[in-house]
Amino acid sequence: MPSEVAAARFRPGDRVRVRAAHPPGHIRTPYYCRGHVGVVERLCGAFANPEELAYNRPGLPAQPLYRVRFKATELWPDYREDPADVVEIELYQHWLEEVS
């Protein structure tokens, strides 16, 4: 029986870029991080894809979900507070690509 869980491609410490795509529908990838680069903080597990669940579809295979840490200065070009500040966001694997 085929696995209903997609294999995890990333590990903590990996640099990843959030795809700069803008599909319609229910998306749990905030606009403000699309196209930006962060570092994987942890793998949270695998979960059914909410984009599909939103239309009463099974959302399988389950997608690995990661917490990705972004520097505030990366997200906001005019960031005026502490340059060490970060924003950490849970992102599904199919939104992430490797950074070479």
Binding site: Y32, G45, R67, A72, D85, V86, E88, I89, E90
Partner: protein, 201 residues
């Protein structure tokens, strides 16, 4: 097409309240729920409050091994002390002298409700959700909270299946206090991260 914000030709006040009553009536007729189910659920939600989070934090303060387990798996640790949280995946983020944590859900209003109950109104509104990821210190200042220089901020955007609670630093001047007494110091807003707890005098 009807405008959901301006429903009905005449008295739209109470429109959604009438809708709620009608939906509940239909679902009861269809055997989907009973009125008692709804009553019980209302009571269950009302029984969940920040006091549960305060107990959780106080236990972490007095018991270092519990604290370590809470940081590794918040839901399992909560369960150990009788705080049942259902299928909630709880991540505990600890404040330190170098790091201050703040929680938000920019996409909607995700919150660890099964532990803490219903979130405050401001947490669900645009102002907080839009601004705290971009200007956290300015937003915290509106709560009367100052993050000292040299302390960096981690903002956690609760976008998916995890839920978060801040483990504040234990206030100074509390040596020897019982967990119950310590729990009395912990506020809801310190668990979200918009408040820092003052030292006990």
């Amino acid at each position: 097409m009807n405008d959901p914000a301006r429903p009905g030709p005449s008295d739209s006040r109470g429109y959604y309240r009438r809708m709620q009553a009608a939906v509940e009536e239909l679902l009861i007729l269809k055997g989907v729920v009973t009125a008692a189910d709804v009553d019980r659920q209302v009571a269950a939600m009302a029984s969940r409050s920040p006091e549960r989070g305060a107990r959780f934090v106080a236990r972490a303060w007095v018991d270092p091994a519990f604290r370590a387990r809470a940081l590794a798996d918040g839901a399992a640790a909560a369960g150990e002390i009788g705080l049942e949280v259902g299928p909630l995946r709880l991540i505990v983020v600890e404040n330190t002298p170098d790091v201050h944590n703040v929680i938000v859900c920019t996409l909607c209003s995700c919150y660890p409700r099964m532990l803490l109950g219903i979130p405050p109104e401001w947490y669900k509104r645009r102002a907080y959700r839009s601004r705290v990821v971009r200007d956290p210190r300015a937003v915290l200042a509106e709560f009367g909270t100052e993050v000292p220089a040299g302390m960096r901020i981690r903002v956690h955007d609760s976008t998916a299946d995890m839920r978060y609670i801040v483990l504040p630093m234990r206030p100074a001047g509390t040596a020897g206090w019982s967990a119950e007494r310590l729990a009395g110091l912990v506020t809801r807003d310190s668990l979200i991260g918009v408040e820092r707890l003052p030292d006990a005098v």
